[in-house]
Every structure is written in C-alpha cells, then in structure tokens.
C-alpha cells in the first residue's frame, strides 16, 4: 500500500476506470455496497450471468475473498454494473416492485440448493410458505431441516425470498440476516405487523 496515495487519488479517474472495467466484460464479479437501504448496508454482486451475491452487513475484505474463490479473482467495485439491481431493490423497498426482473447466477450453488431456491422463487410477494412445504415440493418431504440450511446459505436473500419461509406453526423461525430483518421484509410486504413477533396472529398461516 502506498502511503497517502489513496487520499490524494483523483476520484474522477478512479470512477472512470471502474466504469471502463465494468463495460469491458473482463470482470468475474462487479460489486457495490448499497449503504442506505432500510435493512442496512447490502453488498450486491453481478457476474456476466446475472446477480450472484446479496449480502447483509458485508465485511468487504472477507466477502471479496469469498467472491474471488467462487467466481474468479477479477472482482472489482464497479457501481455502474449494479445500476439495474440498485434500481429494482430501491423500488422493492418503497413497495413499488413485487417481483424482481433480474438474471440470477447460481453457478456456485450446489444442485440440491439450487432446486430448493428455484422452488422458493415461486413464492410470491406477500405470501409465505413453510420449510416442510418447500421440502415436499422438491421431492424430499423429510428434508425440512436441510431446506432450512439452504435458506440460511441463500446467496441472494431478498431477491430469492427466503424471508417468506416460516415454521409450520407460523413462527418466523430464523433468518440468515437476523430475525429483525425478516420481520421488516414481511411487514413491508404486508404480511405481519411491523415490529411485532405476534406468534398468535400468525397461527392461521400454518401451511400454505
């Protein structure tokens, strides 16, 4: 690291290179950190095949290593490449978008996980399903726990709506990004009252 070099570095030149790199088609992953979403900072990444990463509370260095390992070392913060993702998420967060219209890159996701996530992707805005239901839909009715693991490792939370998966008794159960966020997203979609755990109110939701 060159001392002071970063502080004096012309931002225009830096922005320009990142834009040129994004347009070059040479990046394995272009990412950006969206700092001001209602669920806190979100790291989002796209490859040439589509959205490949959504991550809560990113610790950039660790996350970059993960991306490099999964997709290749040419990982660069390139906000321009995320314009569309940013716009769709913004629309979602203000309630104007109910379905994402993005290519998804699940190359780095194991086969079983991918099948579950594809099934998950059919759960519509404002609806919920259960771990057991999803397990049955992929032909593994006893694999509710495994489905829970798939949700926990969902590489594209929010976009692949694992927040819409709840326990058989309607409890929120768990969420990779923390229950607080799960509750927020379900409230945004009109599914639960904001900031209320409200298990009794959810009892009727058992099943789907």
């Amino acid at each position: 690291m060159t001392p002071n070099a970063t502080a004096q570095f012309p931002t225009g030149l830096d922005d320009h290179f990142r834009a040129v790199a994004a347009a070059s088609g040479e990046l394995d992953v272009a990412y950006d950190v969206l700092d001001d979403t209602p669920v806190g900072p979100l790291l989002v990444g796209v490859s040439e095949h589509g959205l490949c990463r959504v991550h809560f509370d990113p610790e950039p260095e660790a996350e970059l290593d993960v991306l490099a390992r999964l997709f290749g070392p040419r990982v660069l913060r390139a906000p321009k490449a995320l314009d569309r993702v940013r716009r769709e998420l913004d629309e979602y967060f203000v309630g104007r978008r109910h379905a994402f219209d993005l290519e998804l890159d699940l190359r780095a996701t194991p086969e079983f996980h991918r099948r579950v996530l594809e099934e998950l992707n059919r759960v519509e805005y404002g609806h919920t399903t259960t771990y057991g239901t999803l397990a049955a839909q992929v032909g593994a009715p006893r694999a509710a726990r495994a489905v829970g693991t798939v949700m926990n490792r969902n590489p594209l939370p929010i976009v692949l709506p694992c927040h819409r998966v709840v326990g058989a008794n309607g409890s929120l159960t768990g969420y990779g990004g923390g229950l607080e966020r799960k509750r927020f997203l379900l409230a945004l979609e009109g599914r639960v009252e904001p900031a209320v755990v409200a298990q009794p109110a959810l009892d009727g939701l058992t099943g789907f």
């Binding site: 070099a5 970063t6 320009h16 040129v20 990046l27 990982v75 660069l76």
Partner: protein, 153 residues
C-alpha cells in the same frame, strides 16, 4: 487458489503508485489515459495469473510498456529504441537491469517477467499489450540476444 488477491485489493494497493509513475514518465496530461490502459491490460491478464507474487513489479512493467507503446505511436520507432532515457527507471526490471540492459524494451520486459518473476506467457503477453505467442517470441529473442552478447564478450 494460490494467493491471488481479489482485483479490487490489487487495484487499490497499486493505483496511487501507478498514477505517480505514469505522471513522471509521460506527464500529467497523458497519465490518465495510460492509467486506464495499464489497469485494463492488468485486468485482462489477471484471471490467468498463476500466483500472486511480484504484482507490484508486474503492474509497473505493464505501465512502463503502456508508456513505451504510447510514445511509439507518436514517434518513429527507431528514435525510441535509441533513446536511453526511456529505458531507465523501469522499476520492475531493476534487479535484472545489469544483465538485460542492452535488450530492446519488449524483449527485456519479456525476459525479466519470465525469468525474473516467473510469470507465464499469457500474463506477459497481456503486460506487453500483445499476446502469448508474441511474449514467447520476445522472451526467446531476448535470451538469444543475451547469449550472443555473452559470446562476444
């Protein structure tokens, strides 16, 4: 994976030094374009690097060659090769300088990157702004030239 850092870290670590180097070598006005050129060349080759060592030397060599190419586009080739100033302060080749001093810039860079830094020809080609085959050719021409010089001494 053999310790190749994500490009973001590589870029952030070296962008300041590369820009300063380009400004020194090519002037403020031309440095910005050469900066883009340098890191684009590096990006193109980055996925084919076999290890993450000597990345500073590597990117400064790319920068140095981007300058050479730009100057060559503007001036007749003969003038450049004969210009000893343009061969000085090539930071990446310092260590092997005494040995490779007499070589033309491309051959010198190819030899140093291959034998000094152990890069593969793919990466060297990108560093030189050409391709694997040209890099292989430049390195072997350089080695031949060195042998000949040695025999003549």
């Amino acid at each position: 994976m053999s310790g190749i850092p994500p490009f973001e870290l590589f870029y952030e670590s070296h962008k300041g030094e590369v820009l300063a180097f380009l400004r020194r070598r090519a002037g403020h006005d031309r440095a910005d374009d050469l900066f883009q050129e340098t890191f684009l060349r590096a990006l193109r080759a980055y996925g084919r690097l076999e290890h993450g060592e000597h990345l500073r030397a590597w990117v400064l060599t790319i920068a140095s060659n981007a300058v050479v190419d730009a100057v060559r586009r503007e001036r007749p080739a003969a003038e450049l090769v004969a210009d000893p100033a343009s061969e000085d302060e090539r930071p990446a080749v310092e260590d092997l300088a005494p040995l490779t001093d007499g070589l033309p810039p491309k051959e010198r860079a190819a030899v140093v990157l291959r034998y000094g830094y152990d890069l593969d020809y793919d990466a060297i080609g990108a560093a030189l702004g050409s391709n694997e085959q040209a890099a292989r050719k430049a390195a072997s021409a350089g080695v031949r030239r060195l042998r000949k010089e040695k025999e003549q001494r």
